[in-house]
Symmetry: C2
Amino acid sequence: MSPSGEVWGVGVGPGDPELMTVKACRILEAADIVAYPAPFEGDSLARGIAAHHIPPGAEELPIRISMDPRRYPQTDVYDRAYREIAMHVGQGHKVVVLCEGDPFFYGSFMYLFERLSESCPVEMVPGVSSLTACAAELAFPLAARDDVLSVIPATLPEEVIADRLGGCDVAAIIKVGRHLAKVRRALEQAGLSQHAHYAERVTMAGQRTKPLTSLPDETVPYFSMILVHRRGRAAS
Amino acid sequence: MSPSGEVWGVGVGPGDPELMTVKACRILEAADIVAYPAPFEGDSLARGIAAHHIPPGAEELPIRISMDPRRYPQTDVYDRAYREIAMHVGQGHKVVVLCEGDPFFYGSFMYLFERLSESCPVEMVPGVSSLTACAAELAFPLAARDDVLSVIPATLPEEVIADRLGGCDVAAIIKVGRHLAKVRRALEQAGLSQHAHYAERVTMAGQRTKPLTSLPDETVPYFSMILVHRRGRAAS
């Protein structure tokens, strides 16, 4: 137990436990309470990545998010998790919240952060994001020199995706999931289909990478990404 | 010495040695040859970050980049470094090239990668980028849900910066350096000045962060960044 309580948002990287930072390991190993996002039933990805560094005596606090927000509103989930974490901090505990990838890069941590940061200091440990991990696994240099790089969620409407593709040199289209057909059409509109590379579950068991043109039409996992460069590749 | 030679591009993170990944440390500790970018005179930032993990017997190969490309063309520098690294790989050595931040995120490594990847396999270790490190140090949640995030080099013309700012929800303007006045004007044009946050040398000695409105007009370091969100902050 620390003399005064504290909260840490700790990025655990894209999946390979070795892509945790030295700092993430150290902070986690000194935790009193370890919180992490988890599905309503089943295992937490973030916990799985960091499992080896969770101290044996730590209390675990899964933050279970339902895929059916009508039945279980997410604001209620984060409000409840916030209250529980704040209580532990008030008791002088060190609380570590594990975050897949980086805590502030499209992560659910920011909903907790908003609530927590009003009542107590929150320390952050940045992590390797899925963006740079995908680039590494695809051997795809992302951006150089004057390149504008845009990260575009596949959840946006087709026209918006196509428009945003037109305003950058290199794009990462994230959260492809069930939006693959729409993303293909947007890339076609932008004249970029031939240059697009697809990756899913990077650095994890079941990783798959291929040129988008050779990917069958199917629903792909939520943890998937398409990288595309206007010139084919970032060039010297 | 490895039975067959290999090359690794290893991201060492934004500056704090503890933000190296466990994998980066392990790969570096088994290197025969350690290469890294360095100024023409003086110390290499990447080497400084990773120094503690360079094995005592390793041969070091600084890749010295002049700030005056007329006198010392950079293509010559990378051609020469490529030939030297390829020679070591041919002799069965394990060569690790250290890269500040992430190797494929606006790093100079990609010029070596282009040359090397044609003649030998190059293994990559992604790193924590300055983007997520800045967000952590500024306590600035970058992007959530449908947010489009753009990374915009400050070296671009003012009108291009303003235009690209108009096409995203959150922007990271990188390499601010001597372009601060121009970037301010572009942010003003885009109506975003009030929301902008400035950071330099994040996670290193001499780190400085402040709202852009309270930063004096001056030349700032090359390793500096401005983060700005259309809504002020990524919100739930």
